[in-house]
């Protein structure tokens, strides 16, 4: 009972339509393929139908052809009304109904659970989440299972073959389109009068730029902002979180570390994003010292500047020079500072020089000293920009 509605490989039988290249299933094989194989009777699969798709042209016509324009109407229904195995369908129906009934109850359960179970604490939230989520999961799971059994066992299996047509339009249509388009272009004078055309395009160019132009006030220009932090001579180092100043004499355990920030800025996130500092206490002899240097002046690499330390306490910027994560993972045995983001490793005994990882520059050292009461203070700003590299950084 297979039908083809077109003799050739081109579905819809449009005149002027291109045909499939042979290596893609073109002419000589189309009809045979549509006939559905060898036709052996032993294959008792679903009833197979072959239909052709109506050509787009036909489907757009308002005056319908007597047969709806899609070729011969098959005598049998397109999709059969009953499943092939009614007994199995009966059993399946019971299962599907059971699934949907339980899903209904679960859905009602969700509404009840929402009304009865409150939140406001971790435990209550846990119970609420389990109840609401559990009922919701049940609803969807049972709907899903029921729907699948429905499709597989309640609906008859069909296998229908539909012809494709090439996406490319028929030649006549393409010609007609080309004609219409060119006609319209000529009528519009768009082609014939270049000055009109060009001035129109020119007039719209600023409009294209305006959406980008008006974004200028999104933010300030970086200017010198990235080059500096808020650290200045005399600012005390306060422990982050507690806000307490730190006495050099009290920060005396070798291997100690603490995160600090400048006095007055601990609650200013914008400042702290660049001004966060770690101080580390070393044993005598562990630090590799370089030459004494005034604060703010350029310094040689891979050494600790001695007059920027206090009794083997050294201060480094906490902002990793890779992409700016705070690097506070410190191993006192190896005196490595490890940034947990991308594993840039710095040697705190040698001016925080880079030992491994993607960071290119050492952590800048903050010059520190003590004030009259013995609290640690900065004796100057950093001598270079902190944090990640940027284009204008020399």
């Amino acid at each position: 009972m297979s039908d083809t509605n077109s003799p050739g490989a081109t579905g819809g039988g449009d005149p002027g339509r291109a045909s499939w290249p042979e290596y893609l299933g073109g002419e000589s094989h189309g009809a045979a393929a549509a006939a559905g194989g060898s036709g052996r009777p032993e294959d008792q699969g679903p009833p197979r139908r072959v239909i052709g798709t109506p050509s787009p042209a036909a489907s757009r016509t308002l005056l319908a052809q007597p047969d709806g324009g899609d070729g011969e109407e098959p005598v049998e229904p397109f999709t059969p009304p009953e499943p092939q195995d009614p007994v199995r369908a009966g059993k399946a129906e019971r299962i599907v109904v059971a699934c949907f009934v339980i899903a209904l109850l679960a859905g009602l359960g969700f509404l009840v659970a929402y009304s009865l179970i409150g939140v406001g604490s971790l435990t209550a939230t846990l119970h609420s989440n389990l109840a609401l989520g559990g009922t919701l999961s049940l609803v969807f799971l049972l709907l899903a299972v029921g729907a699948v059994i429905w499709v597989r066992y309640l609906m008859p299996t069909v296998e229908i073959t539909e012809q494709r047509h090439l996406m490319r339009s028929a030649e006549t249509d393409r010609e007609a389109f080309k004609e219409t388009f060119e006609e319209g272009a000529a009528t519009s004078q768009f082609v014939r009068r270049p000055l009109v055309r060009r001035t129109l395009i020119a007039a719209t160019l600023p409009l294209a730029l305006i959406p980008i132009w008006v974004l200028r006030d999104l933010g300030p220009l970086p200017d010198k902002s990235l080059d500096n932090t808020v650290w200045r001579k005399g600012l005390r180092l306060l422990a982050y979180g507690t806000g307490r100043p730190i006495k050099a004499a009290e920060f005396n355990s070798p291997g100690a570390l603490i995160s600090v920030g400048p006095e007055g800025f601990l609650a200013d996130d914008d400042a702290m994003a660049k001004a966060a500092v770690i101080i580390i206490k070393f044993r005598p002899g562990e630090l590799v010292f370089g030459p004494s240097t005034p604060p703010g002046h350029p310094t040689p690499a891979n050494v600790v500047i001695p007059n920027w330390t206090v009794d083997n306490i050294v201060a480094y910027s906490k902002i990793c020079t890779h992409v700016g994560c705070p690097a506070a993972l410190y191993e006192q045995t190896t005196h490595h500072i490890l940034c947990p983001c991308h594993q840039s490793t710095f040697d705190a005994a040698q001016g925080a020089k880079v030992l491994f990882g993607p960071a290119t520059r050492a952590l800048p050292q903050l010059p520190i000293g003590v004030d009259a009461q013995g609290f640690l203070i900065a004796t100057g700003p950093f001598n270079e920009p902190v944090g990640p590299s940027y284009w204008e950084r020399s």
Partner: protein, 564 residues
């Protein structure tokens, strides 16, 4: 029947205003082929719908504001802690809104599933060649959707302003800052000043709830429309050819199945959101720029970029007072950029190499396109190694591998791995092809041993059934390139000239290299006459059948292929 009444009522009302009885009928009867891999794209569609639904719920309570507040809510350990309103409102949703935590978790799981589904779907499309003409537009739309999805997820999980996602924003800012010439400007414009500023969360919010979802919605609509209009591809099988679609009609079959799959998707997400905790921002704590945690990773779809950042050696150049931070903007832009560019150009590259400009509606079996499959696996290997490197500190901790070793291993294997993967995959494809042809030539082993009168033992084989036969004989033939054999003095045809033409010819040979298909398809068992031969002659001594044209290798004379 109520169906009649519904049609007469609503249907009539609509038809009188919109027409469309004919057009909608065509749609209802459109045939959709069936294969489980065709449902992978639906994972994304339904995840997206669920994202829209749960996301709308969340917007009713979320405060996209970075104004500092001191927390005094339900989550005890953070009472008295300074945090942004965004973070506080997320805590509020989690612990003070009934169903809030569930919705947050479904939303985040759906985002993960959306991205995981895109990977699975994209890989399926690639390995079956479903991106070929006429579907290149859909392929490109898919790549754009992948990019938008990554951005949408990144911005979405940054909204709560917690420590983990805030670190991610810091890294984003550092990466943007490193871009030559315009980097600092872009960073300051995006963040409204230095990091963190006060506007990034509200800006990401509007991008996340309006701009990108709008784009994704529009693109998904086009994506689906094209799938309908061009009709879905189909897998090789009995009766399936490049010029037809075999399956069941949209109404009611496909609707029912896709509806069922929607329920399954929602069920999977609901189960995950009930039983598996995701993004516990209360454990991470609010963002502050001084704090950092070990084992900080972004969501998995950003993991490859994270790995690229970790694996890069610390190279930078300072020239004329300016810094080229290779160590940052190279890993951020190059690996993923390479993959996306290769992916976007791939359909056209393949067309150029093979000279194949025809429409393809049959899915390839990956083994029958060994070069494509091998390149795909090599790319996945490259991606995967960088992806794993993104979690290298967790891997080091839990698998007891020294930390720096993981990075060194990654640095070597991102180059060596894809090469080995390419070679290995190609050999596996050829092996699978040989296995197929063995089946074709000799039939399926039945396990029945029979002794011949002469004393020889043979195993009976039976011929393949039609479906298997159709599958095993399906091969993409490539049209012959207009080269053939020609004398040195002859001018090559257009497209094959010059250096590029020679490259093309070499690539063509590589791409179309395949195990030659057998000339004889097995009709019945060896040396006996039983079995219902396909198209074979059956006689007492067992002849062998022939099916014409079952060659897959490119030939000059008849590149055609019988799809029976």
């Amino acid at each position: 029947m109520s169906v009649d009444r519904a049609l007469e009522g609503t249907g009539n009302w609509l038809d009188e205003r919109l027409g469309g009885a004919k057009g909608v009928r065509v749609l209802l009867r459109k045939i959709f082929p069936d294969h489980w891999t065709f449902l992978l794209g639906e994972i994304n569609l339904y995840s997206f719908i669920i994202l829209l639904l749960t996301g709308t719920f969340l917007t009713l309570w979320f405060q996209p504001s970075m104004t500092d507040v001191v927390y005094h809510g339900s989550y005890v350990p953070l009472r008295g802690v300074r945090m942004s309103e965004a973070y506080a409102s997320t805590l509020h949703i989690s612990f003070d809104v009934r169903g809030g935590l569930l919705m947050r978790q479904i939303h985040h799981w759906a985002a993960d599933l959306f991205m995981a589904g895109i990977f699975a779907h994209m890989i399926r499309i690639f390995f079956t060649g479903a991106y070929r003409k006429p579907r290149e537009i859909n392929w490109l739309i898919g790549i754009v959707l992948l990019t938008l999805g990554m951005l949408e997820g990144l911005f979405g999980y940054s909204l709560p302003d917690d420590l983990l996602s805030g670190a991610g924003l810091r890294i984003l800012e550092g990466v943007i800052q490193s871009v030559p010439i315009v980097g600092t400007y872009l960073a300051f414009f995006l963040f409204g000043g230095p990091f963190p500023g006060h506007v990034i969360i509200p800006r990401l919010y509007i991008i996340h709830v309006l701009l990108i979802p709008g784009l994704i919605l529009a693109l998904i609509t086009v994506h689906l429309f094209l799938t309908f209009y061009q009709k879905h591809t189909q897998m090789a099988g009995k009766g399936r050819t490049n010029t037809n679609v075999v399956g069941a009609p949209f109404y009611p079959y496909f609707l029912a199945k896709t509806g069922a799959f929607f329920f399954f998707t929602f069920a999977a997400l609901a189960i995950a959101a009930t039983f598996v905790q995701i993004n516990p921002i209360w454990l991470y704590g609010p963002f502050n720029p001084v704090a950092m945690s070990a084992g900080s990773q972004p969501d998995f779809y950003m993991g490859m970029l994270e790995g690229a950042l970790r694996v890069m050696p610390n190279w930078q150049t300072v020239l004329w007072g300016h810094t080229f931070a290779w160590n940052v903007f190279v890993p951020a832009l190059v690996p993923l950029g390479l993959i996306f560019t290769l992916a976007a150009f791939w359909p056209f590259l393949e067309q150029w190499v093979t000279g194949d400009r025809g429409e393809h509606h049959m899915n390839d079996r990956p083994r029958n396109a060994p070069t494509r499959t091998a390149i795909g696996i090599a790319t996945i290997t490259f991606y995967g190694i960088l992806w794993a490197e993104g979690a290298n500190d967790l891997i080091a901790d839990h698998l007891d591998i020294p930390l720096y070793w993981t990075t060194w291993i990654a640095r070597v294997t991102i180059f060596v791995g894809p090469v080995i993967a390419y070679w290995l995959t190609k050999r596996i494809c050829f092996g699978l092809q040989r296995k197929d042809y063995h089946l074709l030539e000799h039939g399926v082993e039945t396990g029945i041993i029979r002794q011949l009168p002469g004393g020889e033992y043979i195993e009976e084989t039976r011929p393949l059934d039609e479906d298997a036969l159709a599958v095993l004989t399906s091969r993409t033939s490539h049209p012959a390139l207009p080269s053939g054999e020609r004398a040195e003095s002859e001018v090559p045809p257009p497209g094959m000239r010059g250096g590029l033409g020679r490259v093309r010819e070499r690539l063509y040979k590589v791409v179309t290299e395949s195990v030659p298909a057998p000339e004889h398809i097995h009709g019945n068992g060896h040396g006996n006459g039983h079995g219902d031969g396909q198209r074979a002659e059956t006689d007492g001594t067992g002849g062998r059948g022939e099916v014409a044209g079952a060659t897959g290798a490119p030939t000059e004379s008849h590149p055609g292929e019988d799809q029976h």
